[in-house]
């Protein structure tokens, strides 16, 4: 894997995606133990997963547009939560 810094976000923007990242992980792990027996909570979970996933994707779309980060096919962007740096990660050829 090759990694190249392609941008930077603000701490506020970083906090936003970090919270969504944490929430998405939390919802995924909650989904492993919550069953449809608990109908009300289960329904809330499913709705929340959908909403969080959408917000998550929106953040990347918005930021990519705002900062015009370099991209290539098969590449991923990564964020370093400590430094707010954005990296383009590409598989080694």
């Amino acid at each position: 894997m090759a990694k190249k810094k392609v941008g930077q976000v603000t701490p506020v923007e970083r906090d936003e995606i970090q919270r969504l990242f944490e929430r998405r992980n939390g919802l995924n792990e909650l989904a492993k133990i919550l069953t449809a027996d608990n109908a009300e909570l289960y329904e809330r979970l499913v709705t929340d997963m959908g909403e969080t996933g959408t917000k998550f994707q929106q953040w990347w779309d918005t930021m990519a547009q705002k900062y015009s980060w370099e991209s290539i096919p098969d590449g991923n962007w990564e964020i370093n939560f400590d430094t707010c740096e954005i990296f383009l990660v590409t598989p080694e050829v």
Binding site: Q18, F21, N25, G26, E29, L34, N76, N80, F81
Partner: protein
């Protein structure tokens, strides 16, 4: 594309160092081992936390959200050996996740489950199932003290009969642990008898693939005359080995830090070192403590400091001394005037246990000579390393990518 079919992948977010609330469940006071340096003087097989107590603690804590404003939480599980109670822990974690979500608690967006284990049960099905279920929220440290002879010197199995070390029972689980938690660090404790094995032990841990070794001397008054010199010699050997072997590029050892060994400003650097009081511990009886070190099983000389319980809640008056503690008020003159004060740590629980009166305001200084020896070796390490990097033209590059270690002391 990554596994989420997204054209991007995040780094591990790391964790909210220093700003998270640390809440510890003392799930058992039992352990398979009887480590000679263990500060838990009152371990036993009887005091196991019941589900009812754990649930009452969770209900109290999550039900008083305003009293816990920290943005993040670390739910910590200790013993004894916490994984002896994996079934209870699993139930606790499931309940925590469900309740944080149900209550729309702000911690649902920022929590971790943390464990410090002796590693013996790490491979068992129950522990592995738990890890799979909670992987993105786990922080697990396995304690391995170094080489077989260093580890087995202290970390021996409990029971009568000939002494039996636990090295083989732990080391077999290290590869699995590092596969699951590649950044996993270990915590090494040094007391008098361990000093001759420090260098070989750190290098051994590196050879096992552990890139972060958090190591510290015990705070108790266990030191003999000459230990500081022997300690310094070991650290000098370790410094040479790390530099000559190039380990400094990818490995960290908390003994060596650029920030230690300087005088401290009496006004600007007056904060307390220890986090006791900002943390919260709960034991099998449902009592709350400012830190586990204030529970009865941790104390040699003093009575426990109980700051409340799961039924009546927290007595905030009992927290006031902890939350107003500063460095100067608790330090003797020699520490205030010390020219190498930075990085000299203390444990509030040991301070309390060793104090002349039942107070947390008297700093124990048993570690003084060992800290000074560490500072001397540390100075040597950085002087040698920087000179080498400069001669090789690598200083700038190294500064950008240097490995970080946490000064984890308890």
């Amino acid at each position: 594309m990554n596994e989420d079919n997204k054209p991007f992948k995040e780094n591990d977010p790391g964790w909210q160092g220093g700003v998270a609330k640390n809440i510890t469940f003392i799930v058992t006071k039992d352990c398979q081992l009887a480590c000679k340096y263990c500060y838990l003087v009152g371990k036993n097989e009887k005091e196991r936390m019941s589900w009812e107590t754990a649930k009452a603690a969770i209900d109290y804590i999550l039900g008083h959200e305003a009293d816990f404003p920290e943005a993040s939480v670390v739910w910590d599980f200790i013993g004894g050996e916490p994984f002896l109670e994996i079934e209870l822990i699993d139930k606790i974690c499931d309940y925590l996740k469900t309740e944080m979500f149900r209550l729309r608690h702000h911690w649902f967006d920022s929590y971790r489950f943390s464990f410090s284990t002796n590693g013996i049960n790490y491979h068992t099905d129950k522990v592995q199932d738990f890890i799979k279920k909670n992987h993105t929220h786990l922080s697990i440290g396995i304690t391995i003290d170094g080489t077989r002879r260093k580890h087995d010197l202290n970390r021996i199995w409990k029971g009568d009969g000939p002494e039996r070390g636990s090295y083989d029972d732990v080391v077999r689980n290290i590869p699995l642990w590092l596969e699951q938690f590649p950044g996993g660090g270990t915590k090494v404790t040094i007391s008098s008898a361990d000093i001759p094995y420090i260098c070989e032990s750190v290098l051994h841990l590196y050879s096992l693939g552990i890139h972060e070794v958090n190591i510290n001397c015990v705070f108790e008054d266990v030191w003999s005359e000459g230990d500081d010199k022997r300690f310094e010699d070991q650290l000098m050997q370790l410094a040479d080995a790390i530099i000559d072997g190039g380990y400094y590029q990818d490995y960290a050892c908390s003994f060596f830090s650029e920030h230690i060994g300087k005088p401290l400003d009496p006004e600007l650097e007056n904060q307390n070192w220890c986090g006791a009081g900002k943390m919260l511990s709960v034991d099998a009886a449902g009592n709350f403590y400012p830190c586990t070190r204030f529970a009865a099983y941790s104390l040699r000389e003093k009575r426990p400091i109980i700051i409340g319980n799961v039924r009546d809640g927290i007595d905030k008056n009992k927290l006031r001394p902890f939350l107003t503690l500063d460095r100067l008020t608790q330090s003797p003159r020699e520490c205030i005037d010390c020219e190498v004060a930075s990085g000299c740590a203390w444990c509030q629980g040991e301070n309390y246990d060793a104090a002349a009166t039942p107070t947390v305001y008297q700093r124990a200084t048993a570690i003084c000579l060992m800290h000074k020896a560490r500072v001397r070796a540390n100075n040597y390490y950085w002087n040698r390393l920087f000179r080498k990097l400069e001669l090789e033209g690598e200083r700038e590059q190294w500064e950008k990518n240097k490995p970080e270690s946490n000064d984890v002391i308890c």
